[in-house]
């Protein structure tokens, strides 16, 4: 699947294997992979986050409205953006873990709150992102490592670390069976909060990338990410029922979706057909990727 997409992409996109295009591609792929990781984390614990996109929008708006040109401001506002993303995720996590509304409804509700807040702060796209900030995102370190790829490597390292943590093992347990987890003495609410916290880290990184990529604050900039992230996670083999799948799948799912979007973009079709084709291709991707696997699993039971 992945190989096929790369081939098609290479044919359609001019200079696909040139470094310049590689760098450009990763500028858009990186946030997509990051949100796919964020979504995968909450799906693994048995929840879903529909407020992810609106959360990213809100962070970009906050950052663009406050950031000044001084280095101090850039650093402190970036940190504030990260803190904001973590706070938004924790808010979802606490409600879902300790009070217990269905994650689908809870995060839908918060998504409209985040969106409304972002609109309140910035009704139209704008704000100011210093050149120094977005230039960094486009930079290449040591002549061969674009910054987006470095961010991705940091995320991968974070994933590897997570894999060795006790709380992360519990995340799979809670997603797999809440009752069994409780009987084994695991704090189910605590584990859900942990999942949302981890997801918040990925969302924060994604938001920073989006700001670097667009260089504005926009209350609608994150919109597309919510359902793209769900699609990417599912294409990547994360079971919607929770407790099943891994980050490698989520990353591959993100890349597949990124390539799909790329192909449609470079195939020179009008914007209506772009969206139309994207949906069709996602269904095809599911048919070839996820559905045979699901059927195989069902026949086992």
């Amino acid at each position: 699947m992945l190989v096929l997409l790369i081939i098609v992409n290479a044919i359609i996109q001019p200079g696909f294997f040139s470094f310049q295009v590689f760098r450009m591609n990763f500028m858009t792929f990186t946030p997509l992979i990051l949100v796919s990781l964020a979504q995968a984390t909450v799906i693994l614990v048995g929840a879903v986050d529909l407020s992810l996109g609106a959360g990213i929008s809100l962070v970009t708006v906050v950052m663009a409205s406050l950031m000044k040109d001084s280095t101090l401001s850039i650093v402190s506002i970036t940190l504030l953006g990260v803190a904001a993303a973590l706070f938004l995720s924790l808010f979802n996590g606490f409600f879902i873990g300790y009070i217990g509304p269905p994650p689908l409804i809870m995060t839908f509700a918060t998504s409209t709150i985040w969106f409304g807040t972002a609109l309140l702060i910035m009704p139209t796209p704008g704000g100011h992102i210093p050149e120094a900030y977005y230039m960094i995102y486009g930079k290449t370190l040591g002549g061969f490592l674009p910054v987006p790829v470095i961010i991705l490597l940091v995320a991968v390292a974070f994933c590897l670390l997570l894999g060795r943590l006790k709380a992360f093992r519990h995340l799979y347990a809670v997603g797999g069976s809440e009752r069994a987890s409780r009987a084994s003495g695991i704090s189910v609410p605590g584990t859900k909060v942990f999942a949302f916290l981890v997801s918040g880290v990925f969302i924060a990184l994604a938001a920073l990338c989006v700001v670097g990529q667009t260089a504005t604050g926009d209350a609608r900039s994150g919109q597309g990410f919510t359902l793209n992230s769900v699609a990417a996670a599912v294409i990547g083999g994360i079971a919607f029922s929770g407790g099943k799948g891994n980050y490698v799948g989520a990353i591959i799912g993100g890349i597949i979706l990124g390539l799909l979007i790329n192909i449609i973009y470079f195939a020179n079709i009008t914007s209506f057909y772009q969206e139309f084709m994207k949906g069709v291709i996602i269904i095809v991707a599911l048919l070839f990727g996820a559905v045979p696997r699901l059927r195989r699993e069902l026949s086992h039971h």
Partner: protein, 523 residues
């Protein structure tokens, strides 16, 4: 030393009293049985003692100190472990991950110590002599293996008090033997064990003492140090009445009836049924009208596959099925039901009931799904049918409006049986129908079945408990590795013969359907 003592424990769930006066004491190094009918409060009691529930009232003492257990972790601090009846395993995780779950050790930098966890899991599984790879995911192992993993998980905690809640419900007798061996070893080491079981012979065999619960109260105690290990003493404690006459008496009349029909009365015939992968090989037998035919043998030898094929769940078999003398290719479950074949499943919560719906709805689903004709359902008539079914299975309380999940396990099973009565099936398939059901309900269910058989319904019964086959069947077929290796008739059906035949080690010269296969298959 008394390691565990409970006095006057009370517990209610939204208006339903589960425990009204539970008293219990356990000394170090003893195995104490806890018996009682379904709904008598055994599991609730076990859950209270292990900190999963908090009691409304009463006193709990551990190691002669009063305690207040708020969570399961609290209980674990007192080195208490419980083997859960409803499994506490995560299917997507491996066996060793499950055994370590909730108590993962961490090394430097708070990173997981996986090697240590694997070693501990290996050791725990060795104590109960289980030979499965601990790297297998739990979803890929059989129910009995899951049960063993559950036991291994409790043992890995190195407990001083061990609560076993129905640990043997899905084990065959070999596995029960190894479990008993492990229990005796633990006892030697001074571990105190509470053994909860419906299988009276097991309780009589392994326990030093037993306590009986009835309707949430402690009603009696037997100490095998001074009293005889006699099952007849135990049953009255549980049911509150003298041992009832066994059902087998009625089967004499049934045998005559079956004989009268002769060969013309074949309700069902299987000819050379095979399933790929060696799950079933050349299974042939016939079922006469009004006959109760048993499927015996070790667990998972293909008995369930036979039932599943007949119920229309499993497809892709080869061979021929004949119903009423005519060949029939079953298309799906609906088709099977229309042809009068009904399956009463073993896992009632998963396959037999809509737990959140009322008794009435549950009783009527088969009837409604088979409804033909008028656009609107004749609900008045259906309600009468349902009350009839409730009376036949003697549901307690006899209220069709109750939500099924609130009923006790035994009564839930009565609903599962009751819902097929309205369709008056020709062939009734029973897949371990009394798993986890108490003695009273068990008799009740078998009385209903025997009543149906007398009216001409043919019954194919798979039971993991040999006693049930002995009590109820006219004939028993022993299944071994997907083949029928032996047929036992009438008065020859007894525990010893069933056990020997199940192992497929017999070298008698008798003719049996599978005699040709026996030689090469001795274990």
């Amino acid at each position: 030393m008394t390691v565990l003592e409970a006095k006057h424990i009370r517990k209610s769930f939204v208006g339903v009293r589960a425990l009204s006066d539970a008293n219990f004491a356990l000394r170090a190094g003893e195995v104490c049985g806890l018996v009682g009918a379904n709904g008598s409060g055994k599991t609730t009691f076990a859950r209270i003692v292990s900190g999963l529930l908090t009691p409304d009232d009463g006193e709990l003492r551990l190691y002669e100190q009063p305690v207040n257990l708020r969570t399961h972790l609290d209980a674990e601090r007192y080195r208490m472990a419980m083997v859960h009846q409803n499994l506490s395993l995560v299917p997507e995780m491996t066996i060793w991950q499950n055994i370590a779950l909730g108590r993962e050790m961490t090394g430097s930098l708070a990173l997981l110590d996986n090697r240590g966890a694997v070693a501990r899991a290996e050791k725990a599984m060795e104590t109960i002599s289980v030979k499965i790879s601990i790297h297998e995911r739990v979803k890929n192992i059989s129910p009995d293996e899951k049960q063993l993993v559950e036991i291994g998980k409790a043992l890995a905690k190195d407990p001083r008090i061990l609560i076993l809640d129905e640990p043997t419900a899905s084990l065959d007798f070999h596995q029960v033997e190894s479990l008993f061996r492990a229990v005796r070893e633990l006892k030697e080491r001074g571990v105190a064990i509470v053994f909860i079981s419906h299988r009276i012979w097991e309780v009589a065999k392994i326990c030093d003492r037993l306590v009986a619960f009835r309707n949430g109260e402690t009603v009696g105690e037997l100490d095998f140090a001074v009293q005889e290990r006699n099952e007849k003493l135990i049953i009255p404690l549980i049911t509150g009445q003298e041992v009832r006459e066994k059902i087998r008496k009625g089967s004499a009349a049934r045998e005559q009836e079956i004989a009268r029909h002769g060969d013309s009365g074949l309700a069902l015939e299987l000819r050379g049924i095979s399933l790929d992968g060696g799950r079933l090989t050349d299974v042939s037998f016939s079922l006469r009208r009004g006959e109760v035919l048993g499927l015996g043998g070790l667990q998972g030898q293909g008995q369930e596959e036979i039932l599943m094929i007949l119920a229309g769940y499993l497809k892709g078999y080869s061979g021929e099925i004949r119903v009423d003398g005519k060949p029939l290719a079953l298309r799906n479950t609906r088709h099977a039901i229309r042809r009068g074949i009904a399956l009463i499943p073993g896992d009632r919560q998963k396959e037999g009931l809509f737990l959140e719906r009322s008794v009435l709805s549950n009783l009527l689903y088969p009837k409604v799904s088979m409804h033909r004709g008028s656009f609107f359902l004749p609900m008045g008539r259906y309600q009468k049918l349902a009350s009839g079914a409730i009376a036949t299975v003697s549901l307690v309380p006899p209220d069709p409006r109750l939500v099924v999940s609130q009923l006790s396990g035994g009564n839930q099973q009565k609903v599962v049986v009751g819902k097929w009565l309205a369709l008056s099936p020709n062939v009734l398939l029973l897949n371990d129908p009394t798993k986890g059901v108490d003695v009273g309900t068990r008799q009740n269910i078998y009385e209903i079945i025997s009543g149906l058989a007398e009216k001409g319904t043919s019954v194919l019964l798979y039971a993991s408990d040999n006693e049930e086959l002995i009590d109820n069947c006219d004939r028993v077929l022993i299944v071994f590795e997907g083949r029928i290796v032996k047929e036992i008739h009438g008065d020859d059906i007894n525990e010893e013969r069933l056990v020997v035949a199940s192992l497929n080690v017999e070298h008698s010269g008798e003719k049996s359907p599978g005699a040709a296969h026996e030689d090469g298959r001795v274990q």
